[in-house]
Symmetry: C2
Subunit: 168 residues, 2 copies
DNA sequence: GTAATTGCAAAGCTTTTGCAATTTA
DNA sequence: TAAATTGCAAAAGCTTTGCAATTAC
C-alpha cells in the first residue's frame, strides 16, 4: 500500500496553487472524495461523501470546486444519462457505455475507438476530443435476460476487461 | 415536388390513431414543424415554429406530443450538449458529432460506426442501441483556424458527405 | 491587506406533472 | 359519453449565481 493517492492530491493542489488558486479544506475534501471513490460520482454523491468529514461543505462549493479543477484539466465530467452528470479524474480516459435498461456503466478502453477516431479525422476532419457523452445500449446481462424472456435458452455473456458500475 | 411530407404526416397520425391515440391540431402542428424543419430542433424551437400558426399550443403540449411520438418510435431525441435536447424524426438514423468550439453538428452515417458496434457486441456483449449522445470534438474548420493561429499554414479540410448544422 | 473562496438563499433552465376544462372518436 | 388531450400553473431536478462573511496567501 502506498500513499499514491495523497501524492496525487498534493500534486493537484500544487497545480491549483500554481495557477493562483487557493487550497482550502473544502477543495481538499472534494478532491479526496474523488480520489477515494474511484468510480464516477455525481456532484451530490461527492457532497455526501465530503459531508462525512466536513458536514458544512455546501453542494454549491462542490460544484465550484469541480469546475475549478475541470478548468485545470484535472477533472472531467460525463453525461451518462438524462439526469445528473458524473465526475472523475481526467487521467483515466475511457469511453462510457450505459445500459438503458439497468443503468450499468461499462468503461471501455480508448483503443477500441481508435479506428473510428482515425476515420473521423481522415474522412471528416473531425477530431474526437472527449468521451464526454456515453454510448447507449443494452449490456450483456440485460440482453441475456431479455432473450430468456423470449426463447428458452438464456446464454451468459462475459464482460471482458471492462469495469462495470451501477449508477443509480 | 411531391406531397411526401404530408403523406408521412398522415402515416404517422394513422399510427397514432392505431395505438389508441387521438389526432389533434396541436399534434398535427408539432409533427408538421418537425417535418418542415428537417434539422434538429429543441422543444422550444418547435414550439416557436408551431406558434406561427397555432399561438395557443403550450410548450408542455409540445413536450407531451414529442414524448407520445417518441413512444411510437417515430421521433427521437438527442443530447447534443449540456443544454436542451433536440428532436428529429426517427428514420434519419445517424450519429452526431458536435464541435465544442463552434457548436456545429455533423451528422455522421451509421455505417461509420458499424465496425465499432460489431466489436462492442462481440467482445463486450454490449449492443449499441442509440445515437442518443453526441461525440464531442473539433470540426475541420475550427481545427484549421486553431492551427492557423499557431503556425503559418492554415490547411482547409473538406466535410465529405456529412450534413452540418449550427445549433446555437 | 487583498483577492479568492465559502455558505446560504435564491434564481435559472429544461422538463415534468396535477388538475379542471376541453376535445376526440 | 368515455377517454384522451390541453392549457395553465406549479413543481421538480440539476446547476449556477449574487452577496456578505470568511479565509488563504
Amino acid at each position: 500500500m502506498t500513499t499514491g493517492g495523497d501524492d496525487r492530491l498534493e500534486r493537484m493542489l500544487q497545480l491549483l496553487r500554481a495557477r493562483g488558486g487557493r487550497v482550502t479544506n473544502a477543495r481538499r475534501a472534494v478532491l479526496g472524495a474523488l480520489l477515494d471513490h474511484r468510480e464516477h460520482a455525481s456532484a451530490e454523491a461527492l457532497a455526501e461523501m465530503v459531508h462525512d468529514s466536513h458536514p458544512d461543505v455546501h453542494l454549491s462549493t462542490v460544484y465550484r470546486t469541480l469546475d475549478a479543477f475541470e478548468q485545470l484539466g484535472v477533472v472531467t465530467h460525463v453525461h451518462l444519462g438524462h439526469g445528473r452528470a458524473v465526475y472523475h479524474l481526467t487521467d483515466e480516459i475511457h469511453h462510457h457505455a450505459v445500459c438503458e435498461r439497468c443503468g450499468a456503466v461499462l468503461q471501455l478502453p480508448l483503443t477500441l475507438f481508435a479506428p473510428l477516431h482515425r476515420r473521423l479525422v481522415d474522412e471528416f476532419g473531425f477530431e474526437v476530443d472527449a468521451h464526454h457523452f456515453a454510448i447507449a445500449g443494452r449490456c450483456a446481462p440485460c440482453r441475456s435476460e431479455l432473450r430468456a424472456q423470449l426463447s428458452a435458452d438464456p446464454p451468459a455473456a462475459g464482460h471482458g476487461n471492462v469495469t462495470i458500475e451501477n449508477v443509480p
